[in-house]
Amino acid sequence: MGKTLVEKIWEKHVVRSIEGGPDVLYIDKHLIHEVTSPQAFAGLEKRGIPVARPQQVVATADHNVPTINQHLPIREELSRKQVEKLIENCANHGIELYGLGHRYQGIVHVIGPELGFTQPGMTIVCGDSHTSTHGAFGSIAFGIGTSEVEMVLATQCLMQSKPKLMRINVEGELAKGVVAKDIILYIIAQISASGATGFFVEYAGSAIRSLSMEGRMTICNMSIEMGARGGLIAPDQTTFDYVQGRTFAPKGEVWDKKLAEWKELYSDADAQFDHEININAADIEPMITWGTNPGLGIGINDAIPTTETLSEGEKRNLKKALEYMGLQEGKAIKGMPVQHVFIGSCTNSRIEDLRLVADVVKGRRKNDNVKVMIVPGSQQVAEQVRAEGLDKIFEAAGFEVRQAGCSACLGMNEDKVPAGEYCISTSNRNFEGRQGAGARTLLASPLTAAAAAITGVVTDVRELLG
């Protein structure tokens, strides 16, 4: 019987299989950031042991950093201390840090791929659930907790049980105005926020193949929002072209050797999956969420679902979500006013996302009632934005262009949405309070976010694309 892509990669990384327990899995690359690493370093110190393979670790400061005046010391004391702790830990243990002020600084899941640190066939971990993003390159990439960060720092290994495998095939052509974000929001709405728990998901099919690396990253990024341990896409020419020539990408003979290995990374035709789902790309509309988990999404022209036919438990949950969001069941979502638009996060802050936004807003101006914030995913993306003159388009539209970081995706720094106000966000979570206590988040694609910025209300972007 053939093997799945996950099995092929997994088997190459098993150091030991524990009887009746997990596998000891070797980790190729480890990304760290300021929020989930300090307690792990403290643990190492307590045990009196060094970092095992510092050259396989890369660090950045992203979650907690301000997105304006990054050249100044961080004003908020606890945030500053956390970032200083990262600097100290990296210096003590010989870990490369792309901190504030470094031209490679940015959101951990944006810089890994853009630096070529992320490559096909690898095992990659980070103390962050959206590590699944890196699966877009055909790697096994998943988020871990701080105890596990400590394990990987100490031993370059992790204990993991082999996951169940799911394949999601998206076949056909996407309609105009429908992009990668809509595909993944559609999938999560279909299978729910827990529909893939315990699984690794392989995305396949012609609609997935046709996506750029940026689009594939958006899809894999949100795998965790349906509970999956990770998501991945078999590497192909699109992948190889993206990786080649990047800072940490293999060069010369090593490249040739690696490329030959990478070309073997696909699920065999007769490989078995524990579960398989087929989706017709043509069924997907621009999506938007109305509730407080990413599974509560609908097509932009649909009505918010009604709760009548649901079980008691579900009814209670949906009513709670509706109440928090200040929305009513059965009502349309299109036309609803929003006060904020946030374009950023590891889901949608790459250059291609920002180009999509620029296409919509070029020559237009934002609605007076909306505040619009654009936060590029990394310093390199920000540089590219300037090089292409997109910053001029955004400024002329009345958008505020910030410096790289997680920003209002999780509201750890000052970038927050005030209580009770609505924000269309290109990020990945609409949990209660995610963007600030009481904030109400509607998740959507960069195109849909851009359209709302112009009109001030939830809008079907196709009406603006003409």
Binding site: V15, I144, A193, R429, G433
Partner: protein
Amino acid sequence: MQPIRIVHSTFVPLPLEQVDTDQIIPARFLKATTRDGFGKNLFRDWRYEADDETKPKKDFVLNNPLYRGEILVAGKNFGCGSSREHAAWAVLDYGFKVVVSSFFADIFKNNALNNGVLPVQVSEGFLQQIFEQGPDATLTVDLEAQTITIDATGAHEQFEINNYKKTCLLNGYDDIDYLLSMKSEIEAFETARN
């Protein structure tokens, strides 16, 4: 890590589904560089009005003196969302040793196990039976036997846990000790693949 064998206690019911990690511990409390003190911010935004500790929300279960104990019982998909281990630290620091749900998010489950908090996954039906109990009802969780019992009715269910993790919890061992003992095996693995 504290070993766990038998937990016999009253429980705190939280009959909500999809309790995500941003509710368990909101992001603004993730700025600490130690593992201590997260319990006081557990479910912070459900617990207090306007983020004010002097204004507990009366209808939230942690503010109801009738409910207490070492076991938290919640609806399905508990702990979904971020990988923040701070969520497990907050649950532990508040005083819970066991979390019962009909479904756990993976990363939370791992984080809990790595901190000596036992996630007990039960059927939806059994979960509802627990929710029907009053505030004085007790549950007994026996890790060795892998059972959870509603003491008043005697109703019980078997739960799953992998053998390796079970041994770790029973003895209070953690994975790092195990991995560190494999140093030369790991090095041999590295040499072989290069």
